[in-house]
């Protein structure tokens, strides 16, 4: 693939992937003998996978064969997708990898309204793009002769939106085991999933693919674009965040959840002590000496001998979480989880690199969130409904308004793509406007603020020189429900064109052509 289109951005300063296989086991280089003894493992952390279903709510009736999956009806898009996937690779093969014609590296979007988000909204403006980056944004811009011009007169150009928390597009969003920081969503991302196609269609240009909420400590996440044939091609930014949940995993209660979290770091300390002792012993063996000091002193001396490549994946990640550069997205489903989550992050050193993912009930903990001052991702339905146990009256609260009024930086997340309205991030922003959140705050919540949370505000979320050219061309104002996404540019390449969206056309076509119309039978 042409490497100029895809920038490889290794955020972590660790050595690259060959250190461990995707399964997380340490590799043994060719010629090197394997370890003499089996590596001692905490049996609870590394419970061997058996076919027995885990206890608790998540009894998989399918795994045990108790229930057969019956044949299910399929939606028209799914049928179409599955039957035509290989013959109509409209989105998947678009940008790179084809040997036919290289996409133009210099383009201009001329003559529309440009909502920069970071600055003023410009009318009759022009955007120049070179090699995937925006070079110029302005009103009286002369288009150089060698730029391909896209006429956006009468349209509205908006930054490609950023989804701050997307536990989708994977094999499964959750791992069975509770503590799995050694895992990487890279192994799970499936580029062919419908989720990516729908994200592209809706103008969501950067997706933070992350472990689901059903964990204690989950996998390392990744920010991807919705196009590409492999996770490498899709990657915008490699893993910077682990997923942590303060809300109990299925089958756990809060006591066990918090105990598991604490025990993880206690085990880390224990591991480091043992590793230090081991290193000192190895050094003594090298020097052909006998052990001469007590365990305390041995650990002290051995600590200085530890090198980063001595850690296994799990502990390496935990150390990087505690000491940096990794951060955490901490899920708090209920209000009571916010306090413990804040305390836990502070106690273990990653509070300044934490983003809180909150369920709607957490509006009740807005005071704690405000004093914490960390950014917040509002997941799921932004309206929280509760029923008074005595009177039965229902009280509804629009959560983003509470969060916005507290002055917190927040990001919105779309609903499922199966909802014709909630699938759009712009619809979430429109809901915010409906309940009194200022329009510019709502627009930031789907563009620059999620980019900031991911540490990518220099590259994503706004239309400014130097940013990645992720641009969405709307037929009208993004918050107008009658406006459609017409074109999506990803890295300056036109990745989606509504005129060529065959699958959408199918949904909008009631078949006034001869072959679709059938006479009514029944005589």
């Amino acid at each position: 693939m042409p490497s100029k289109w895809i920038k490889d951005n290794t955020a972590c300063k660790r050595s690259p992937r060959p250190r461990s296989t995707p399964t997380g086991r340490r590799t043994v280089a060719a010629g090197e003998a394997g370890p003499a003894q089996p590596v001692e493992r905490n049996p609870r952390m590394y419970a061997p996978r058996t076919n027995k279903a885990p206890k608790g709510r998540r009894n998989s009736a399918f795994a045990s064969g108790a229930i057969e999956r019956p044949a299910t009806p399929r939606s028209p898009l799914c049928t179409f997708a599955l039957s035509h996937f290989l013959t109509l690779p409209v989105f998947v093969c678009l940008c790179v990898g084809t040997a036919l014609a290289a996409p133009p590296s210099k383009i201009a979007l001329k003559g529309g309204t440009v909502i920069t988000v970071s600055g003023e909204t410009l009318n009759n403006a022009t955007i120049l793009v070179d090699s995937g980056l925006i070079t110029t944004v302005g009103v009286k811009v002369e288009v150089p002769y060698d730029h391909i011009v896209y006429d956006t007169t009468g349209k509205v150009v908006f930054p490609g939106m950023v989804v701050a928390h997307a536990p989708f597009g994977m094999d499964q969003p959750n791992e069975n085991l509770p503590v799995t920081p050694y895992l990487d969503v890279y192994d799970s991302i499936d580029p062919s999933q419908r989720y990516f196609e729908e994200a592209l269609r809706d103008g969501h240009a950067a997706l933070h693919i992350i472990h689901g909420n059903n964990c204690v400590i989950g996998a390392l996440s990744r920010v991807v674009r919705p196009i590409g044939l492999s996770p490498e091609e899709m990657t915008i930014d490699q893993g910077r965040f682990l997923k942590i949940s303060a809300t109990p995993k299925g089958g756990f209660d809060r006591m066990l959840q918090m105990a598991t979290l604490r025990e993880t770091f206690l085990e880390l300390d224990d591991y480091l002590e043992k590793l230090a002792e081991k290193k000192y012993e190895e050094k003594l063996k090298e020097d052909d000496k006998k052990i001469d000091v007590g365990p305390e002193e041995a650990r002290k001396r051995g600590k200085e001998l530890i090198k980063p490549e001595d850690y296994d994946d799990k502990h390496a990640r935990l150390i990087e979480l505690r000491d940096g550069p990794l951060g955490a997205f901490v899920y708090c489903g209920d209000a009571m989880d916010v306090g413990p989550a804040i305390n836990f992050a502070k106690e273990h050193g990653f509070f300044d690199r934490t983003v809180f993912v909150i369920g709607p009930e957490c509006y009740k903990a807005v005071a704690e969130l405000r004093s914490a001052g960390r950014p917040v991702v509002i997941e799921g339905d932004p309206i929280y409904r509760e029923q008074d146990p005595y009177t039965g009256k229902i009280k509804e609260t629009f959560v983003p308004k509470v969060i916005a009024d507290a002055g917190l930086t927040f990001a919105l997340t779309p609903g499922t793509y199966m909802s014709l309205s909630e699938r759009y991030l712009t619809y979430r922003a429109a809901q915010c406007v409906r309940y009194g959140v200022p329009r510019d705050v709502a627009l930031k919540a789907i563009t620059v603020h999620p980019a900031q949370m991911l540490g990518l505000e220099e590259r994503l979320g706004s239309i400014q020189p130097g940013r990645i050219a992720n641009l969405v061309v709307y037929s009208g104002d993004p918050l107008d429900f009658n406006a459609w996404v017409e074109k999506v540019f990803i890295d300056g390449i036109i990745a989606y064109d509504r005129d060529k969206d065959v699958r959408l056309k199918e949904l909008l076509d009631t078949g006034d052509t001869a072959q679709e119309d059938r006479p009514v039978s029944g005589e």
């Binding site: 608790g56 028209p76 969003p173 229902i394």
Partner: protein, 488 residues
Amino acid sequence: MTMRNRHLIACVTVGLVTGFALADDQALLVKAGRVDLGNGQSLENAAVLIQDGAITAVGPDLAPPDGAKVIDLPNGVITPGLIDAAAIIADERNDLARAGQDHGHVHSGCDHESLWSSLMGPRQQAACCGSSCPRVLEHADGQPCKYCGFPDAAPQTTAVGVEPWHSTAEQSAEVVPHLRVLDAIDLESRDFDRLAENGVTTVFITPDSASVIGTRAAIVRTGGPHDTRITSPADAVKATFGSDPSYRGAYNQRPWRQNVNLYARRPTTRMGVTWVFRKAMHEASARMNGQPLTGGADTPSDEALDALIAVLNKKTPLRVQARTQFDIASALRLTEEFALDFTLEEATDAYRCAEELAARNIPVIYGPIFADAQGWRAMFGEAANTRLTTPRKLLDRGILMALTASEMRDEQGLAAQAMYSMRYGLTYEEALAAVTRTPAKILGIADRTGTLEAGKSADLVLWTGEPFQPTTRPAAVVIGGQVVVHNK
């Protein structure tokens, strides 16, 4: 329904303060930047004057009489109250369940949202989180299941089965047009409050589709003075063609789990469903003409026959639910045999037989609009061929079309259905008509509601801005002259 007092939580509430009580002779003036009368006319900076539950005047420069209460929203828009011509009224247990939405939150246990799960119906989705409870689909929000005690969140329930409380599915026989759905409806249900908050002022409560020929529907208002809430206590008879009568029968369990076992009695296929319908109409026709009945299995009771005779005489309207093209074809064929007119409900495949429907002047209540069927529509498999532009096509063929939200509320409620229809081809005026004047006409209540004209019932909605947009919501809802919803 008495006016409800609700708490106002400063600056955060979505829900509302009470409407306020008006004195008996106190007038109400509702003013806005624009008044859409519902008959194609629009007035700038106009108002609606209301007295004694009725509209007395609509126009610009209306002076409020002495002592009148005034609601004024200069940037707002007034429309007639919305009318849902095929609403499924939820029972109390479903209050917090958002019907048909957002499967991402179905399972608290497994967070399932993979490609596979997007193909699964709700039954498989719910089951995959490990519950083998046979009533898994009835795990309502926050309520422990009475079979397995499992607190799960289901997108909606396929409700009913054979529970005696809050059920609108009478399953003691397949032909029950002598019964009234209104008798099973709790008019104090919070579902009506929710509808009112969404701007829906009148609903046609459609009977359950578990019976081949079901009960008689009811038309009620969602709020307002108690004595004016019921518009029509025993309205159209509803018949269902398709999977519902036989599929729902499949849910019936062994007697030791249920009160009534119909497992052996229900029609199990469409062959049985059409047979039951045809036989019932034939027997009614025979009774009407003084001829002896054929008798035997599936003979309707005498009361049912009397009710069906009223249908044959066109004294009682007929409502037919059919989703697929061949079910619509069956409906057309069978009703033609007995010279019956009907109104078609659901009609997912109506775009495939629009000409036939136009030729027989069949009005269509279409909705909800979706691309991926969810809930029981996904399970029954009849909604797989839906098209988003069906309302556009039906209107182009001259078919009288009203939109319905069915069991959907809030973000997928009737106002949202109008919003969708506009995105997929309807103009604002067409969408407004499809939720106001057209359903009023189809339901036969156009003389008293559906447009804002002097003499009609004061059913209106004051929106915070352009109606049917995601950035606006109802600021006030007036039903029968009573301010039922008033958001500050």
